[in-house]
């Protein structure tokens, strides 16, 4: 073991605690100076008061500790929320749009936000900045001119440039479309709040709050470093997934109270699907907890560090199950029957509009983001650097590598998993409700039980108290990984030679497509 597990340069919790202690002292002294007495009514205008913490009388200690804890928790909540929302609004939603565009090769007007500023081919949206009084807009004009020169399109044919896929041109560092979400949010905020005439108004108003608030609460249990978390109860995994299970109730409330057949159908589908997939999900999480020997998220993460192996290499099946069930839980393609646009207008949130819709949308992505972060925590070492034990041994490089804050690793891992979610969305078609449910109950549930059994076996027979047995704890994960890889390859090249070798064009009888099989 190269380093202690709780080693992290970014000890935000520690900093906040230290900071609030100082504030605490300031507040206390100002209170004392004002009233001349402390809260117990004793005169405290003595020289000893300069060291406030040593002189706090017994009767107020509890109060000040509670105050201190509240301030720390509040500050940490704000910090975590800021981290999540900033990276969600900017990185995640941007990834969703840009990556899906590339995966589906539909990169249409990707520069629509940019063109007003940067323009193309030296032409911008008119010199509107010159209309500002006192020449105030002139610097803006220079900026636009500069951007235009540096990042304007580069085809020799103007019209080609306009029609072509314009994300090829320009420069990456302007991140075209990055602030679209801010614009969307502004739009939502200016929209009217409407409730359908015959909706169950109380429930209708309550449902988004249930969904959004329960989603935000999950974030409190996600650590972004050994010292960056809002709350760390003993059973934080249990707590997080209990909270995770509230949102489906809100979804059903929303679907029922909208008094709309599409919303109701979406709500019913959502209820059925989420119930079906919550069970394998919880079994999988339980397997992770069994494997790591703890129901505490931070302990699960640190266990992967101290044992030297990511849980992914021990439970690849669990990772697969977790991914599938999470895709279903957050209602993304191919499991997005609750909001199937093709048949139910927008599913259970058809009737919502304005900022309530925007927040529901945001909370959906928050759930996806939480799922990605949990995936990183459960299976990929969380805030620890990849191969920390191996690279940490390298003389100079190791120190620098381990000095990278855990926050960066968590976010990077989560973003990669989100990219995988987007990839899945691009690759698979939406499947039928009965297929979803059949897949959930008949395949995922037994598989998750098998997975749980595997975890028990591994924990009981191969765990030696520190790591995973022989060969520095690498033999067992290596064997498991090899077996899984072999299975994957076999399944990937599975073609049935009994089937028709090749389709042919009806008239010419020429072979259709590029596919070749056997001696064709």
């Amino acid at each position: 073991m190269a380093k202690n597990a709780d080693y992290d340069l970014l000890d935000v919790n520690g900093a906040v605690e230290a900071g609030t202690k100082d504030i605490h002292a300031q507040v206390l002294s100002s209170v004392d100076a004002r009233f001349g007495t402390d809260l117990c009514g004793q005169s405290r205008l003595t020289e000893a008061n300069t060291f406030l913490f040593e002189t706090i009388p017994e009767c107020t200690t509890g109060f000040y500790h509670a105050l201190n804890a509240t301030m720390v928790a509040l500050t940490m909540c704000i910090i975590i929320f800021t981290i999540i929302m900033t990276s969600l609004l900017i990185v995640i939603l941007w990834t969703e749009r840009k990556l899906i565009a590339r995966l589906m090769d539909r990169r249409g007007a990707t520069t629509s936000m940019r063109s007003l500023w940067v323009g193309e081919q030296g032409v911008t949206a008119g010199d509107w900045w010159n209309l500002l009084p006192f020449g105030m807009g002139r610097p803006l004009g220079w900026l636009v001119g500069l951007l235009n020169r540096v990042a304007g399109n580069r085809s020799k044919d103007k019209t080609v440039d306009r029609v072509d896929n314009r994300s090829w041109h320009g420069v990456w560092w302007l991140f075209p479309g990055l602030f679209q979400n801010i614009a969307d949010g502004m739009k939502f905020l200016t929209k009217e709040h409407m409730v359908p005439n015959k909706a169950d108004r109380t429930i209708y108003e309550l449902a988004p709050f249930m969904i959004i608030s329960s989603t935000v609460v999950i974030l409190g249990f996600l650590p972004f470093g050994s010292g960056i978390y809002a709350a760390n109860p003993r059973m934080s995994i249990l707590f997080a997934f209990a909270v995770f299970g509230i949102a489906p109730l809100g979804v059903f409330f929303a679907g029922w109270s909208s008094n709309n057949k599409y919303a109701l159908l979406g709500g019913i589908r959502s209820a059925a699907q989420l119930t079906a997939y919550e069970i394998p999900l919880l079994f999988t999480v339980l397997a992770v907890a069994v494997l790591s020997g703890s129901m505490n998220l931070i302990e699960v993460i640190d266990f992967q560090y101290t044992s030297g192996v990511w849980n992914f290499f021990l439970l690849p099946l669990g990772f697969l199950l977790f991914t599938i069930t999470m895709v279903a839980e957050v209602e993304r393609i191919p499991f997005d029957m609750p909001e199937a646009e093709a048949e139910l207008v927008e599913g259970w949130w058809t009737e919502y509009g304005g900022m309530r819709w925007g927040l529901l949308f945001a909370s959906e992505y928050l759930r996806v983001y939480a799922a990605c972060i949990l995936m990183a925590h459960f299976f990929f070492g969380g805030y620890h650097a990849p191969f920390a034990n191996l690279i940490g041994e390298v003389p100079m490089l190791g120190e620098a590598y381990l000095a990278i804050p855990g926050l960066i690793w968590v976010l990077l891992k989560a973003w990669v998993f989100f990219a995988v979610f987007v990839w899945i969305r691009a690759a698979f078609p939406r499947i039928r409700t009965d297929q979803i449910l059949e897949f959930g109950w008949r395949y995922l549930l037994p598989l998750s039980v098998v997975n749980l059994g595997l975890a028990f076996v591994l924990r009981i027979y191969f765990f030696d108290g520190v790591g995973w047995g022989p060969m520095g704890g690498l033999l067992v994960p290596a064997v498991i990984t090899l077996v899984s890889l072999t299975l994957f390859v076999i399944l990937s090249i599975d073609e049935d030679p009994e089937e028709l070798p090749r389709m042919r064009h009806t008239r010419t009888r020429m072979p259709a497509g590029k596919h070749t099989l056997g001696d064709d």
Binding site: R102, D105, T124, A125, G126, L132, T159, M503
Partner: protein
Amino acid sequence: MASHPHAKPNFRNLVVRPMWMTLKTALRTYPVIGRWFTDGYHNKLEGEMLDEKSLLRVEDNPYNTVSDHEYTADREATDLYPSLYRPVTVMYPYERLEDMEPWLFVPGEYNGRIGVIWETCTACKLCVTICPNDCLHMTTELRVDVLDGAEGEHAGFGKGLEVGGWAAVPIEEGMQANESYDLVTAHEGPSADYRFGEVIDLEGDTALVRWNDTGYEASVETAELLAADDQIVSGRIDIGRCMFCGLCMEACDFTSFFMTNEYDGMSGFTRQDLWYDADRTRVLTSRHQEAVDAELAKRAKKERDKRARKAAKLAAEA
């Protein structure tokens, strides 16, 4: 039942292949990596245009005014928020969309207003015959013949002035006014550019001409006069009956008949306004100068041969 091997619902076809295909698609969108996965359609750094015409249209040179317009209309809206409340309504017919957003041009294949190169028309009436709505009418017109107005190598092959024929004098004001005349957007015909009159008598360098507009007779220098002809082929088109099917264009064997891509200027306050005479269908010769030149050369050659034969005949008789 036998089926395509990719139709079998196994792990390979349901999961691995879709993931691999989308990954390839995504990689193709990055030229550097995507080169290795290219299928000959993606990742071409040069845009592909369909034909030469379209390429010309988008060409980037100082003379190309087609695509050299502002990105959006450079108009003022409110002084306070010029960028936020930019007007987006195009005030047609005072403004035209393709003037402001030139990339939204009307494609050349669009069947718009009828245009005829009257100089190359042979009056075969194929277009009149095929028109299902009977909107085309062949007439004759009093005009200066192309050969009579020709300069350079084809000059002098015109019919020339003769007694009982027609003569014309250019009207400077009308010529100047027509220089700024835009056939594309005009709702009326162009100004008169020639003053016509009947040649009553020819005496040396002067001709006695009875002007058509005033009816007075006047003696004019023959050098000032151009020969004109009242049998020059012309036509009238009732654009109000036209359904823009383009059959006339397809019927024309002499590439004289066109459907332009112009949608403008075909309106009026009376039905009479929708009767277009030849002036309002005449395609700018500069756009089809080659065809006009070829026709001119053909006619000049015909005239030259005729004169040569006549001269040979006269020589033989002598």
